[in-house]
Amino acid sequence: MSIGILTLIVIALAAGGFLLGRQIAVGKVAGDIRKLHSLPGYYGQTVFLFTAVPALLLMLGWLLVQPLLIHERVGAMIAPEDIASGSSASLVMSDVRRIADGLALIEAQGAAIPADAGTVREALGRVGVALGTDVKPSVYAAAKAYGAMSATGGKAMSVAVLVLALAGFGFAIARIRPAFRARNVSETFVRALLIGASSVAILTTLGIVLSLVFETVHFFKVYPFADFFFSLTWNPKFGGGSDLGIWPLIWGTLYISLIALLVAVPVGIFSAIYLAEYASKKVRAVVKPLLEVLAGIPTIVYGLFALITVGPALRDWFAQPLGLGSSSSSVMTAGVVMGIMLIPFVSSLSDDIVNAVPQSLRDGSYGIGATQSETIRQVILPAALPGIVGAVLLAASRAIGETMIVVMGAGAAAKMSLNPFDAMTTVTVKIVSQLTGDTEFNSPETLVAFALGLTLFVFTLGLNILALFIVRKYREQYE
C-alpha cells in the first residue's frame, strides 16, 4: 500500500471519527447540548486527533527507521571480498538498492525473477535498469533480501498504522460521556502539537551540528588534523595523496569578503543616512523599494551577472591594461558583485538603526548651531555605532557564507596571492566542488567538504553571536 493512500485512509477515518464523535456526544444528552461539558465539536475533535496524530507519527517514524534497520542487516550479508577495490560498502549498498528496485519492476511486469546472479544484469537491462558490472552472488542475495525485507516492512507498517489509528479511534469514542472534558483534552493535545512544531528548530540545529561533526570526525580519521589546519596548499587528487590545507580557502574567502564589505559598507551606510535624514518622502518612497529589489534578487542572478558582465568588464578595463592578469573570474569580480548584493542588507539595517535615534538628540544638536552633516557625524553616528557595527558583522557573515557568486565569479584555483585580479577560491566553492564531483563518498577528498562546512558554520555563528553581543552590550538606552 502506498504511503499516499495510507495517509488518505487514516485522514478519512479521522474525519469520520470527528462526525461520529460529535454525533455520539449529542446523542448521549438527547440533543440538549447544555448538559455537555464542552461544545459538541470538541468531542469530535478529540476523536480526530487521537485517530490521526499517533498513526501519522508512527508512519513517519517507521519510514525513517526502517531503511536503517534493513541497511544494517543487508550490509552484513555482503561478503567483504565482493567489495571491489576502489569501491566502498556504501556504493555496493546503492547497487543493492538498484537491483532490488529492478527486481520489483520485473515482478510488476509479471516476468520471472532470474534464479542466479549471472543473468541478473541482462534481465535488469530489459526493464531499463542499467548496471555497471556483473552482479556477484552475495550482492544478489543481499538485494533479494533487501527487496523482501522492504516489502514485509511496508506491509507491517500499513498494518501497524491502521491498527494504531483504529485503536485511537476506539479509545476516543469510548471516552465520550457528557462529563468528559473534551475541550481541555483537545486543547492540551493541540498545545503539544504546537510545542512539537517549535522543536523543529532545535531538531534542525541538532541535525546540522551532528551531521557536520560526525562526518568531520570521520574525515580526521582518514586525514591528519595538522595537515588540514596548518598546510598552505590545497591540491585534491583523485587517486589519493591530496594536500587539503584550509588556508588558501580561508584567504580567498576573507579577501573576497573584505572587498565586498569595502563596496557595501560605505554605499549602504551613506544611502541609509541619506534616506533617513535628507531624502524627501517622495524620493524615499521610490528609492527604498528599489534598493530592496536588490535584496530580493536570487544570488544565482548575481552569479550570472558576475560571469557575463562584471568579470569581462573588469578584465578588459582594469586587469589587462594594468597588467595584473587576464582572468575574468577574480577576487575583484566576486567581491564587487557580492558588495552590490550586500548594499540593501547594510542599508536597511542601518536605516532602522539611524531612525531609532531619538529626535531630541538631533534637535539639541541643531539648537547649538550644528549643521545637518555635523549632527549626523558627531551625534547620530556615535549613537547608532553599535547597531551599525552589528549590521556590518552580519553582512560579513553573509559574505563568508555566500556561495553562488563565488562559484561563478571567483574561480577555482586555490592560491594565496595579493593581486585582486587573480582567480582565487573560497570555502563555499570547495564545498560545492568536492560534494558534486564523482569521487567516492568515504574518501578524504569528499569528506573534507564536511570539515569545511563545519569551519564555515563556526565562523558565521561566531560572527552572528559577536554582532548580537555588541548590539546588546553597547546599545544606547533612550528614555
Binding site: R97, A197, Y274, G296, I297, T403, M404, F457, L468
Partner: protein
C-alpha cells in the same frame, strides 16, 4: 595689561550676508556630505539598472528561435517498411532515417530555388539543421502515423550557430575560426533568410521542453526545471506554513518564559543566519545518506528548502501575531473563551494577511535558492519529466536556479543566452510572488 587688551583686535564688522571662511567651509562640507549620500544611492540604482539590463539584453533572445520552413515528403518506403502503420514497427525507424529525409528535403529545396552557395556540399548544407530536428519530426510522425506517405510543411529547428547568426552572436569572421560552422553555411542561411524560408519565431519550447545535451543548445528548455521547482514549492508550502505558524503561535501566545523557550528562540535566530549551503550539507547527510531518500528528487529539495524557509516564516508570523492588539484578546477572554479559542478564533484570523505575506516572501526566497540544491544532486542532467505527484516527488528533477547554473557551465556560448533567459523566467515568477504579497498586504492590512 592694558597694552595687551588693546592688542586684541576689535572684531571685524561684517554683514550677516557675507559668510566668513569658517562658515563657508562648514557649508561646503555639508554639501559634500550630501553629495556622498546621493552618490551612494546613485551607485545602488546604477548597479540595479546595469544588472537588469545585462540580463534582459542577453536573455530576451532566448524566447525566439530560428526555424527553417520546408516541405518534407515522408517516404513510406523508408519510414514504414511493413506498410501496416503498426506503432511498434514505426518506432523502429530511428532518428537517423528521419535525419536523412530532412537533409534531402532541405538540400532539394535550396537547390530548386537556387539558394545553394557554390562549393557547399550537400552534407554541409544539411548541417545547418539542428540535431534535434529529426527527433522532433519523428515524434510528430509517431503521434500521427497518417502523415506517412504525404508531404508536410514543417518548420525545422536550425542549428545553434545559425540561430546565433540571426541574433548577432555569430558573424562571418567568427565562423572562419569555428569548427562547428563554415562561412558557406552562413551564406546558405542568409540566402534562405532572404527567401523568407528561415526566420525567428516565438520559442514556446524554451518554457516547456526539457534540457538538451551539450551540442544542441537550440533545443534546450526549462520544462523539467519549472516542474521541479513547482513541486518543491508545493512541498515547502505544505510543510513550512503549518509548522511555521504552529511554532509562532506557541512562542508568541503560549510559551512560558523558561529555558526551553529560550533555547528555541536562540535556535531560530541562529538558523536564520546559517549560510544556505550548510542546509545543503544537512540535506545530503541526513535525508540522502541517513534516511536513504533518492538523490535529486523534489522531495529532498523541498525538505531542505522548508528547513531553510522556516525561520523567515516564523519571524514574519510572530511579527503579525504581535501586531494584533491585546484588547481583542482581552475581549475574547472576557466573555469566557479559552486561551486556545482566543488564539485560533480571533488572533490568528486577524494575523492571517501578515502571515500570508511572510510566507510568500519566504517562498520567493526559497524559489531562488541554488546552493543547497547543488549538494543534493540537483545538478544532474535530467531529461525526463517527473511523474505527477505524489510519485513525482521521488523522481529526479531539475530546479530553475540550478538549471541556470548548469547552462553556464557548458562550453557553447549559446547556453549563456539560455541561462539569461532562464533567469528572466525566474525573475518573472519572483516578481509575481512579490506583487501578490504586496497586494495582499495593501488589501488586508489593518492599522489598529
Amino acid at each position: 595689561m592694558t597694552a595687551e587688551a588693546t592688542n586684541i583686535p576689535a572684531p571685524k564688522r561684517r554683514s550677516l550676508y557675507q559668510l566668513d571662511a569658517r562658515t563657508r567651509r562648514r557649508n561646503a562640507s555639508e554639501t559634500r556630505f550630501r553629495a556622498y549620500g546621493v552618490a551612494a544611492i546613485a551607485f545602488g540604482m546604477i548597479a540595479l539598472a546595469v544588472l537588469l539590463w545585462s540580463i534582459l539584453g542577453q536573455g530576451l533572445s532566448a524566447f525566439t528561435q530560428t526555424r527553417i520552413a520546408m516541405d518534407v515528403t515522408l517516404d513510406a518506403a523508408v519510414l514504414d517498411k511493413s506498410g501496416k502503420r503498426d506503432p511498434v514497427e514505426l518506432a523502429k525507424a530511428t532518428t537517423l532515417a528521419y535525419g536523412k529525409i530532412l537533409d534531402q528535403a532541405l538540400v532539394k529545396q535550396a537547390t530548386d530555388k537556387g539558394l545553394m552557395p557554390e562549393g557547399l556540399s550537400a552534407k554541409d548544407a544539411a548541417g545547418i539543421l539542428s540535431k534535434e530536428a529529426p527527433a522532433q519530426l519523428r515524434r510528430m510522425v509517431l503521434d500521427n502515423p497518417a502523415l506517412i506517405g504525404t508531404t508536410v510543411q514543417i518548420e525545422a529547428l536550425a542549428n545553434g550557430r545559425i540561430d546565433g547568426l540571426l541574433k548577432g552572436r555569430v558573424t562571418m569572421e567568427s565562423a572562419k575560426l569555428d569548427s562547428n560552422v563554415s562561412p558557406a553555411q552562413l551564406v546558405l542561411a542568409q540566402n534562405l533568410k532572404d527567401a523568407g524560408l528561415l526566420a525567428k519565431s516565438f520559442n514556446f519550447d524554451f518554457i516547456t521542453a526539457p534540457d538538451a545535451s551539450e551540442v544542441r543548445p537550440e533545443a534546450a528548455g526549462l520544462g523539467v526545471a519549472i516542474l521541479g521547482s513547482l513541486y518543491m514549492m508545493m512541498i515547502v508550502l505544505v510543510l513550512a506554513l503549518p509548522i511555521g505558524v504552529a511554532a509562532s503561535i506557541y512562542l508568541e501566545e503560549f510559551a512560558a518564559k523558561n529555558w526551553f523557550t529560550d533555547l528555541i528562540e536562540v535556535n531560530i535566530a541562529n538558523l536564520a543566519a546559517v549560510p544556505s549551503i550548510v542546509y545543503g550539507i544537512l540535506g545530503l547527510a541526513v535525508f540522502i545518506n541517513f534516511a536513504g531518500m533518492p538523490q535529486s528528487s523534489p522531495l529532498v529539495g523541498g525538505l531542505v528548502l522548508t528547513l531553510m524557509t522556516l525561520p523567515t516564516i516564523i519571524i514574519a508570523t510572530r511579527a503579525s501575531l504581535k501586531a494584533v492588539p491585546p484588547s481583542i484578546k482581552d475581549a475574547a477572554l472576557g466573555i469566557g473563551a479559552s486561551k486556545t479559542q482566543t488564539v485560533f478564533h480571533h488572533v490568528l484570523p486577524l494575523a492571517m494577511p501578515g502571515i500570508m505575506t511572510g510566507t510568500i516572501i519566504g517562498m520567493a526566497h526559497a524559489l531562488g535558492e541554488t546552493a543547497p540544491l547543488l549538494l543534493i544532486g540537483m545538478v544532474a542532467f535530467v531529461r525526463d519529466y517527473p511523474a505527477a505527484p505524489p510519485e513525482g516527488f521521488l523522481d529526479p528533477a531539475a530546479a530553475l536556479p540550478v538549471q541556470v547554473y548548469n547552462f553556464t557551465r557548458r562550453a557553447d556560448p549559446a547556453f549563456l543566452e539560455r541561462a539569461s533567459g532562464a533567469i528572466i523566467v525566474l525573475l518573472v515568477f519572483l516578481a509575481l510572488m512579490n506583487v501578490a504579497a504586496i497586494l495582499l498586504r495593501r488589501k488586508f492590512e489593518r492599522r489598529w
